[in-house]
């Protein structure tokens, strides 16, 4: 029985949240829905951890859905690369579940809270599905599952502007999803199959046809939209700003990363690096766009007054780092991209959690609203400082590991200008994080503002500080993480298997 379950793990991570979501709706009350969400998130995280260990040992875990052998049935494939992304997504969901209870109770009407938990589970299901599936069309389906869930989650934000930003995201997201679907359609036309490994094999004869090239273009643009790669990022700042805080935490830490993961998966596993980077100039295009993302995102972040929006713009910049690593198409570059995917998840998760706690206390989070909070919410503000240092890339934090690996990947190929761009973007991060920290610690609350006191609830702090501790742990013991991501990158490139 136990062994049976063990074999079913790859499908359980998808099925459990999918089935638990309607349970939340049936439960109809905030507390039971939260309990279901929390329990499922942690179970799925546990399973993901086992899968991660399994891929470390075995390299690959394959599961034929419904017993239908691939390429006819849908296949779930978890290799070292997807295992790490899976761990990030489920881990963030587990920590967000701890955080969500108090935060959602404060931001949303009581009778709608259960819907948030249901939608978050659906979103989790979609993201996990995208990560583990080995089937191109299936990936599109899960992308839509996660997207639809995110639209509704963002729309539930406390202010009315959430509706508009959700609508904006809906339009952009639908365009992205449709592009992806068209691209997959082109591939299906040329190969007659939807299984990724199978497509890859059959593409070899027809790789240089215009249909396949157009398919690649559609897929890249579609997924770049979901990944908020410059200049397709317009939906992101509003979406992150007006969503409920716990939704911002979860989506900011996971959803764009899974989109980049899908992009990497398509380019390396389906099309092959030769077609994308040698025959077509994907690398050059992405390098230019990612540098533009880093600089414009960081610059825009400097001029924001709303701290959530500031962090959102910083996310646009940080996606640039990840895509830059990927665009190098080298082992070191992919290692850097994957490392930063994980680390940025940890960083932004911690930062959004800290800001969410400030919002919980002040019901607002512009730079002026949070002035002088350093004394009144010492733990939350300290968490923000550590998260901010990690974002800057301070040694001893996760961000430093990312920066080191990325700089190394760039410099080893003599991309000096790109390295300089990264450093400039980090320095811009010093400015925007510095502005917030200065307001937290060295400014007095504005006259006439009610002075709210007291720390955030314990569970929120526990979740925040778990992420902060992970940031520090990764920063100090980064060798283990880089080893894992390097192996994952190698497995993706088909080296050393």
């Amino acid at each position: 029985m136990i062994v049976q379950l063990f074999h079913q793990m790859p499908v359980l991570v998808v099925i459990l949240p999918l089935m638990a979501a309607p349970l939340c709706v049936i439960a109809h009350r905030a507390l039971p829905a939260w309990l279901i969400h929390t329990a499922v998130s942690w179970v799925v995280f546990g399973i993901s951890f086992l899968l991660f260990v399994e891929t470390r040992v075995a390299g690959r875990v394959v599961y034929a859905l419904g017993g239908w052998a691939p390429p006819f049935g849908i296949e779930l494939v978890i290799d070292r690369f997807s295992a790490i992304v899976l761990l990030l997504v489920t881990g963030m969901s587990a920590l967000t579940s701890l955080y969500a209870r108090a935060s959602i109770a404060a931001e949303l009407p009581r009778e709608r809270a259960y819907l948030v938990y249901a939608a978050m589970l659906l979103c989790l299901c979609g993201l996990v599905g995208m990560t583990v599936t080995g089937d191109a069309f299936n990936l599109f389906v899960f992308l839509e599952v996660s997207s639809l869930a995110s639209y509704s989650l963002i729309a539930m934000g406390p202010s009315r502007r959430a509706l508009l930003s959700s609508f904006q995201y809906l339009i952009m997201g639908t365009v992205g999803g449709t592009f992806l679907l068209i691209g997959i359609g082109f591939l299906y036309v040329m190969t007659g199959t939807l299984n990724m490994a199978d497509i890859a094999q059959r593409l070899q004869g027809v790789a240089h046809t215009h249909t396949v090239e157009a398919g690649l273009a559609f897929i890249v643009v579609g997924l770049s939209l979901k990944a908020a790669l410059f200049p397709l990022h317009a939906w992101l700042p509003n979406a992150y700003t007006y969503a409920p805080s716990s939704v911002s935490v979860f989506i900011a830490a996971t959803s764009t990363k899974v989109a980049v993961y899908a992009l990497i998966r398509f380019v390396f596993t389906v099309f092959g690096a030769d077609l994308a980077f040698d025959s077509l100039p994907l690398g050059d295009v992405l390098i230019v766009l990612s540098v533009a993302a880093m600089l414009s995102g960081s610059l825009a972040a400097i001029f924001q007054t709303d701290v959530k929006r500031l962090l959102a713009w910083s996310s646009v910049a940080q996606m640039g780092y990840i895509v830059l690593g990927f665009a190098l198409a080298t082992g070191a570059g992919l290692t850097a991209a994957l490392t930063h995917m994980v680390n940025h998840g940890l960083i932004k998760g911690a930062l959004f959690m800290a800001v969410g706690a400030m919002f919980w206390r002040m019901q607002a989070c512009s730079i002026n609203d949070i002035a002088g909070l350093g004394k009144r919410m010492p733990w939350t503000c300290a968490a923000f400082v550590v998260g901010g240092l990690s974002l800057i890339g301070f040694p001893g934090t996760a961000g430093f590991i990312s920066k080191w690996v990325l700089l190394q990947a760039l410099m080893v190929d003599h991309h000096w200008l790109l390295a300089a761009a990264i450093l400039v973007s980090s320095l811009l991060a010093v400015i925007y994080i510095g502005r917030v920290v200065e307001s937290l610690y060295f400014r007095e609350p504005a006259e006439g503002r009610k002075v709210a006191r007291g720390e955030a609830p314990a569970l929120m702090l526990v979740a925040t500080w778990t992420l902060v501790a992970l940031n520090i742990a990764v920063g100090l013991f980064g060798a283990a993480e880089v080893d894992a991501t390097r192996q994952a990158a190698m497995s993706l490139l088909g080296v050393g298997q």
């Binding site: 240092l389 800057i392 890339g393 301070f394 040694p395 001893g396 590991i401 920066k403 080191w404 690996v405 700089l407 190394q408 410099m411 080893v412 390295a419 450093l423 400039v424 980090s426 320095l427 010093v430 510095g434 200065e438 060295f442 920063g475 100090l476 013991f477 980064g478 060798a479 283990a480 880089v482 080893d483 390097r486």
Partner: protein, 488 residues
């Protein structure tokens, strides 16, 4: 000797900062804890002299930060010298700080002493770092924990000062120092401080070596080579004990110590000399020496004048490193010690003057020497030491620097040193001369009115140290020479 000692000494002040924080409510106990921690630290570091002198090089790797890059502590003579200076001056500064902070009724004294202890922890970490990455970790930690000390007053002026402080130090370290470390790692495949350097024979060209060395020295903003020196005058908004220990000893010396260590153990003196890697820095540091001295002439604010004097003096040490010879390195390390004692005395005096007479500007000091004889006596001794006159310790470091410059036949450098010495005389001795010989202003206090004993005692001790260093320089020199190996 057990290498765990190294870890214990690095962690000790940080751990005890918790005790300082816990005893914050009882100032007397808090300061006793601080001083006791400092004395214990000093005893621990002194205990290391013997094994290191006997040739031991204890090393300890705790874990790997990045694949192949450990969090490593290794102690060698240069590091020990820096650790000794920092830990010897810390308890004195704590006593002084207690007198100053209470004498001026400063707020947030507990935060002040906690950050102080953490800064010392970072300094010891820098001294004992076994590779560049570990050094970088502590270097950045030091920037961070000293920031609250710079912005201590919390008003607009200190916030602006803090912004410049953090801005320049982080910009240089992230923008220049970090890439220099990564480049070193890519060329050498290691970052371990190794006798004779790690860059020789790695395919780094002479031009590359020049670029890399320049990147390093400017990346280490704490060494304050112009044009990245602005943070140091800005940091003078801090309370004077901070300026004394951190911005005359721990922070700035961490900078020049890093430069020295990189010259000796990353480039290696031979490699640096052969490739001429230090060529640019040789001249930029010379320019800094002169320019900073000239600016100091025109500063009426006493602490600001001392800050610019520090900028100039730091470049002596950078210049010593950049000579890339054994004599140069010896003069640099010796100057770390002598300048530390001299400059901390001067800052102590500045703080004592402020506490006793509330004077910040040099033009207000006329005739004050008669009512504060100890303070201005110490000031004179320390000034003479910085100028390099016997029988003060500073004479030796200037002597070695000059003979080092002559040794590589850079006679223009001798000219630079001569001119800067003259400038030193003008801008430093001007101050005690005013205090002792000019007629007093109307509102200058008559009779004996020194600062509290807790302030005056430490500055007498450090002034005595300036003299003592003249007589005890030889053991230090031979100790440093043993680190650099035979020949020059």
């Amino acid at each position: 000797m057990n290498p765990l000692w190294l870890l214990a000494l690095v962690v000790w002040p940080a751990v005890m900062s918790l005790a300082v924080a816990a005893t914050g409510r009882w100032p007397n106990i808090r300061e006793t804890v601080s001083v006791a921690t400092g004395v214990a630290l000093l005893a621990g570091v002194v205990g290391l002299i013997e094994p290191i002198a006997a040739g031991e090089r204890p090393s300890l790797t705790l874990f790997e930060i990045l694949p192949g890059l450990g969090f490593t502590f290794t102690l060698e003579p240069l590091g020990l010298i820096f650790a000794l200076v920092a830990s010897a001056l810390w308890p004195l500064t704590t006593i002084y700080g207690a007198g100053y902070m209470r004498g001026n009724d400063e707020h947030a004294q507990t935060r002040f002493f906690v950050c102080f202890a953490l800064a010392i922890s970072a300094a010891i970490g820098i001294a004992m770092a076994g590779n560049l990455l570990t050094l970088f970790v502590f270097y950045e930690m030091m920037t961070l924990v000293t920031y609250p000390l710079v912005t201590h007053h919390g008003d607009a002026e200190s916030r602006a000062g803090g912004r410049i402080y953090l801005g320049i130090l982080l910009t240089t370290s992230i923008g220049l120092f970090l890439p220099a470390i990564v480049i070193t790692w890519l060329f050498a495949g290691t970052l371990t401080f190794t006798h004779g350097g790690i860059l020789a024979g790695t395919g780094l060209t002479a031009l590359g070596a020049i670029a890399l060395y320049t990147l390093f020295v400017y990346g280490i903003g704490k060494a304050a080579v112009m044009p990245f020196h602005r943070w140091l005058p800005s940091a003078m908004v801090a309370p004077t004990p901070v300026s004394a220990l951190l911005h005359a000893v721990a922070v700035v010396k961490a900078g020049v110590f890093s430069v020295l260590k990189i010259t000796v153990y990353i480039f290696g003196l031979d490699f640096a000399f052969k490739t001429g890697a230090t060529e640019i820095i040789l001249w930029t540091s010379s320019i800094t020496i002169i320019a900073a001295s000239v600016i100091a002439l025109y500063c009426d604010n006493l602490k600001k004048r001392l800050a610019y004097s520090t900028v100039g003096q730091l470049s002596y040490i950078v210049l010593g490193s950049a000579l890339a010879t054994k004599l140069g390195a010896v003069s640099g390390s010796l100057h770390i010690v002598t300048h530390a004692f001299g400059k901390i005395t001067l800052f102590f005096c500045a703080g004592a003057i402020y506490t006793a007479a509330h004077r910040k500007y040099i033009s207000q000091l006329n005739g004050l020497g008669r009512s504060m004889p100890f303070t201005f006596g110490a000031f004179t001794i320390a000034s003479l030491s910085l100028i390099g006159l016997p029988p003060m310790g500073g004479a030796w470091s200037k002597w070695y620097l000059m003979s080092g410059s002559a040794g590589v036949e850079e006679y223009a450098l001798l000219g630079v040193l001569a001119v800067s010495t003259l400038l030193n005389i003008v801008y430093l001795l001007d101050i005690p001369a005013r205090a002792f010989f000019l007629p007093a202003d109307d509102d200058t206090p008559r009779g004996f009115s020194e600062a509290p004993l807790a302030c005056v005692l430490p500055l007498c001790v450090t002034a005595a140290g300036c003299i003592a260093l003249f007589f005890f320089a030889y053991p230090i020199i031979s100790f440093i020479s043993s680190a650099l190996g035979e020949g020059a």
